[in-house]
Symmetry: C2
Subunit: 199 residues, 2 copies
DNA sequence: GTCTATAAAGGGATAGAC
DNA sequence: GTCTATCCCTTTATAGAC
């Protein structure tokens, strides 16, 4: 019935780190949520830094692999973009703190993600580039630098999550309205991109 | 020749807080950069929290007021969007750590920005909405929800800064190439938005 | 493996001399 | 106003019993 202790610790740590970041997280809180004491944290994971690293790698890998997979679908590029937008926004809606978590670590330790990025997105840009060229040849797309397209995609998808309090204040939406806004964004972003890329 | 002490402290604090965030910043480091000792920090600003608050309000106000001003220009909306994109990207290029700084504080204390946002962006969305309606009536734009447009604008502009290490790794650009990428992005984002909004 | 108790270090804040 | 010295709390990490 109970998971083994190591898993409980890991899940508690994930929750706390994702919410509070490395600096803000407290080992005591992780221990409390896992229902054990601090000493056991160090027994299973030598230090706070190592525990964090384990959590971060797993979270980053999950996001990157899902995103990269969506971008590699065997579809014409325009359809692939729609798939990506829907997949990515749904993924983050299920874990709304994830982007800020990853971005904060990116700032604290810019090199931390490099290995994970290199591992999960090899040739991603080339695949994107080929998809663009194919679609251009088919007359379905105007040509665009794949690096810019990748940046556009990510920026349009994550901004409502990382800047939520700001956008929600500026637009004076309540939580329900903002939820609807997020849902609507899947279609909005998809059509926005498609229209921007008509030949 | 020397600025007065309070200013030196404030500038040192701004640099450290913007780079490291509240939790990551050390009063000792701020004192070192200001060329004074820790006790003086508390003499001028009672606590770390107050010092941070002063820095944060100033930084947030600067970003928001410049952004809001650009969006209120007395121009047809399509031109205003171009102005905004160029202004905003240039602003952040001069202070590349600013977005992550603001976003981290947004996460640590979601309410902190509300007052500042409310102060600097009153009626911003309405102004944007009127601009859209005017341009739609003139046949220069297709209709779009101003909230989505605002999100698009911000997301497209800040993503290359907050996700820089990730994008730079995925695209394998060196620093010079990434700088060129940022410069090119002003035109790229402008045309991307304009094309997405043709009637 | 799990606990209690405690060491060790870090860092914000203050006292008090000058 | 500015400094040195120090307090004291928080938090990570370890020792050692069970």
């Amino acid at each position: 019935m109970e998971q083994d202790t190591e898993t409980r610790i890991f899940e508690a740590a994930r929750a706390v780190f994702v919410e509070q970041g490395f600096e803000g997280a407290r080992m005591q809180e992780i221990a409390d949520r896992a229902g054990i004491n601090k000493a056991l944290l160090h027994y299973y994971f030598r230090s706070k830094a190592r525990l964090f690293e384990a959590v971060f790698r797993a979270s980053a890998a999950e996001v990157l692999s899902q995103a990269a997979t969506a971008l590699r679908q065997d579809q014409p590029l325009p359809d692939r973009l729609t798939t990506f937008v829907h997949t990515y926004i749904d993924l983050i809606r299920a874990n709304p703190h994830l982007p800020a978590f990853v971005l904060e670590e990116l700032r604290r330790n810019p090199d931390a993600l490099k290995a994970v990025v290199a591992e999960h997105t090899p040739g991603l840009l080339d695949a994107l580039g080929r998809g663009i060229e194919d679609a251009v040849a088919a007359g379905r797309l105007r040509r665009i630098d794949p690096a810019h397209l990748l940046a556009h995609l990510i920026g349009l998808c994550i901004i409502p999550f990382i800047a939520r309090p700001m956008l929600q204040t500026a637009t004076q939406m309540d939580d329900a309205a903002y939820d609807a806004f997020l849902e609507a964004r899947k279609e909005e972003v998809s059509t926005f991109i498609h229209r921007a890329l008509v030949p």
